[in-house]
């Protein structure tokens, strides 16, 4: 399932250093919008325009961006077909949930804003470490396999993780984990998503990223040049798993309830759909894919329930149809192998 990308740089390469400034400007702009948005929704200002439902959608978009961008590392840049992303997410979600409920004091016992920040850093850090550990192990096991075999092995790991959690009584087993405190809000998700994008963007431009792309383009040639394929792959799995764990940790503390079956292969498929919709080997594509998919589903829900309630059940039929049409007209996804300028590697640096 490795793709052969066609580089399509339409715009002239920017001056050295320019994209870095652009990146920080975009980050600053998003944070400058996110902070007042969060505060005014919490305060209940302008309930018609800024309502918690929209903020909830934006939060979901943020968490999905982390998931899809990190999967892009494996499926887009490394060129493998990994099918276990929801498993890493589950590890992160359960780790964060356990830390938040069993190990740490509640946010009420700590100073208001700082306390929540500390809890978030500890739980999300734990979630990333745990998921990275699992990702490292899976990377160790899969280093000999490629293509479809790797897909099956990662799918198997996803099932093992879900089934293992189902049989653990202390995390609720098949009934799910209830009573997780709500520590995550939109602002926290926005900060995490920007950090993820920034880190991935820099990684991909670094020698790490170039090694991954070289493996995707021609593994034998890369090995001849002295690249240790096993080690590079293992790094990719570890890093991608860590970010999936981050998304899981945010997810658990936003939804306040998690159940093992939410993280089965169906969730992985959903992440894959968003990834391919946006386009491979493109962080911009990951962002656009998530935004397009999430808004398409919710927009259809709103349009149908307002104008044609009798068609509401057809939503699950209409939305895949739109996806098929998009994929037929744009076969590399919305932004395959292209980047917005603020995410584009620095040329000539």
């Amino acid at each position: 399932m490795s793709t052969q990308p066609q580089p399509e740089h339409t715009a002239p390469p920017p001056e050295p250093g320019q994209s870095k400034v652009r990146f920080w400007m975009v980050c600053a702009l998003i944070l400058a919008l996110a902070l007042p948005l969060q505060l005014s929704v919490d305060a209940g200002l302008f309930p018609d325009v800024l309502n918690p439902y929209y903020l909830h959608l934006l939060t979901i978009i943020g968490m999905n961006i982390i998931l899809v961008a990190s999967l892009n590392l494996l499926n887009g840049y490394l060129g493998e077909f990994a099918l276990g992303h929801a498993g890493f997410m589950a590890v992160g979600a359960y780790t964060a949930a356990l830390l938040a409920t069993k190990a740490l004091p509640s946010a009420a016992a700590l100073p208001p804003v700082l306390g929540t920040c500390i809890i978030l850093v500890v739980t999300l850090g734990g979630a990333m470490l745990m998921a990275a550990g699992v990702g490292y192990l899976i990377g160790l096991v899969t280093f000999k396999t490629v293509g479809d075999y790797l897909a099956i092995i990662t799918l198997g790991f996803n099932m093992i993780i879900v089934n293992a959690i189902q049989n653990m009584d202390f995390v609720g087993g098949p009934r799910g984990f209830t009573g997780i405190p709500k520590n995550t809000n939109f602002l926290a998700v926005a900060v995490c998503a920007l950090l993820t994008l920034g880190l991935l963007r820099n990684l991909i431009q670094s020698s790490f990223g170039r090694v991954w792309v070289s493996i995707r383009e021609n593994a034998i040639a890369a090995e001849l040049m002295g690249v240790s394929i096993a080690r590079a792959k293992n790094w990719a799995f570890t890093i991608a798993a860590a970010f999936a764990g981050l998304a899981g940790g945010l997810w658990a503390q936003n939804q306040q309830f998690i159940t093992p079956r939410s993280f089965d292969y169906i969730k992985t498929t959903e992440i894959l759909v968003m990834l391919y919709l946006g386009g491979m080997a493109s962080l911009s594509g990951s962002i656009l894919g998530v935004v397009a998919y999430t808004l398409l589903m919710e927009l259809l829900r709103n349009l149908l329930s307002t104008f044609a309630p009798q068609l509401a059940e057809w939503r699950m039929l209409i939305s895949p149809l739109i996806l098929i049409i998009i994929m037929l007209t744009r076969q590399t996804g919305l932004l395959g192998n292209r980047e917005w300028r603020w995410l584009r590697p620095r040329q000539g640096a």
């Binding site: 309930p47 049989n167 009934r175 306040q256 309830f257 829900r301």
Partner: protein, 376 residues
């Protein structure tokens, strides 16, 4: 550039969906697509029936005037994350006063924290997991909880069947089966019976002969199988082959037409507890079933009956509260005493779990026949 302008369009449409006043809006979160869409369809039918019934009479009495009621049904796909989104939409965009739903316990567990934080009362028709209402003020349910069924069956076995000895065979990997089995064991012993066998298996096992042979050795009068309808017929067939003569008992996991299709003759003469029975002698249930049959050409299942009751519980609470205010509706709901529904009388004794009876159904000639009602 075109893409960027297109990206703004959703925001405009979302902002354009303004709530309209002068009617009471109640949200419904049901799985109309996904793995249990049949349940969602039952819910949709029952809701349509309630809406037409109440509006045909001019609406619900709020204070001194009658107000029309509109139910807004959203699909939660039987997924917790979609349920969270649906609850956010219903509460913040549609501004509903109360919510009926969601159906499976995992979905209710994801929606409940949102409703609780927003102060919107929720009546779940179908979530039997005790955790759903635990420690929450605004979350109610119309069904009984899992452990209650164990007590119902134990009571039925000791008082109606006069059984002195009993045995249990259950799926140890599923919390539903495990919870009911343990409650049955404790209650049966407390009521003077003796448990002579307590055997387990794992989901998807197909050979139960080892456990059943062991049970056969102690020759119990009743064998309790709190398992799902797809496994029970196999267990009974194997038990009969080994010469076990015990009466077989079960829980609401048996409530599916597949049970008799798979089991055939071997199912006759056995009993299970359920939320309601279509041929129960209750005028409200009779009226509901007749209307449902006439309109949809189907016999309503437990999900439809419980949805009908949940929606009517909320409507009655609106009328009792006398104002369109979620907090007042919640207080009226909590004070519900002796509400007469399709699935029996519902009283809330403080928490969100109702004090209500169950029915015991007998399988006869491949049909489910009402046997008796058991009240706590």
């Amino acid at each position: 550039m075109k893409l960027r302008t297109l990206a703004l369009l959703p925001l405009l449409v979302l902002a354009g969906c303004k709530p309209t006043a002068k009617e009471i809006k109640i949200g419904v979160s049901a799985p109309t697509t996904g793995s249990i869409s049949a349940t969602g369809q039952s819910a949709k039918n029952a809701i349509a029936l309630v809406q037409d019934e109440i509006n045909a009479g001019g609406g619900v009495q709020v204070g001194d005037k009658q107000v029309k009621v509109r139910f807004i049904l959203e699909d939660d796909e039987d997924k917790p994350e979609s349920t969270a989104t649906v609850f956010q939409k219903l509460i913040n965009q549609d501004r509903v006063l109360a919510i009926v739903g969601s159906y499976t316990s995992k979905c209710s567990n994801a929606g409940a924290p949102i409703a609780e934080a927003s102060g919107i009362p929720v009546v779940s028709p179908w979530s039997t997991n005790p955790n759903v209402t635990k420690g929450r003020k605004f979350i109610f349910r119309a069904c009984f909880i899992d452990p209650f069924q164990g007590r119902v069956v134990a009571q039925f076995a000791t008082s109606k069947l006069k059984a002195k000895t009993g045995a249990v065979l259950y799926d140890v990997a599923s919390d539903y089966n495990k919870g009911i089995a343990e409650v049955f064991r404790d209650e049966f012993t407390k009521m003077g019976g003796k448990i002579v066998g307590f055997e387990t298996y794992n989901t998807k096992d197909t050979d139960f002969s080892a456990q059943l042979t062991k049970i056969k050795g102690s020759n119990p009068e009743v064998l309790f199988l709190p398992n799902y309808f797809n496994e029970v017929p196999l267990q009974i067939q194997q038990a009969r082959k080994l010469g076990l003569t015990a009466v077989m008992l079960g829980g609401d996991g048996w409530d599916n037409p597949e049970l008799v299709k798979l089991g055939g003759k071997v199912m006759d003469g056995n009993y299970f507890s359920n939320h309601y029975s279509p041929d129960i002698d209750n005028p409200i249930a009779k009226g509901f079933i007749a209307k449902y049959k006439a309109r949809f050409g189907l016999v309503p299942d437990a999900a439809a009956a419980l949805t009908y009751d949940s929606a009517n519980l909320i409507l009655k609470a609106v009328a009792t509260a006398g104002k369109a205010d979620s907090k007042a509706i919640r207080d009226a709901l909590a004070a519900t005493v002796g509400f007469q529904g399709v699935t029996g009388n519902i009283t809330y004794g403080g928490g969100g779990d109702p004090v209500k009876g169950a029915v015991v159904i007998k399988v006869e000639d491949g049909k489910f026949v009402f046997d008796s009602a058991v009240n706590p």
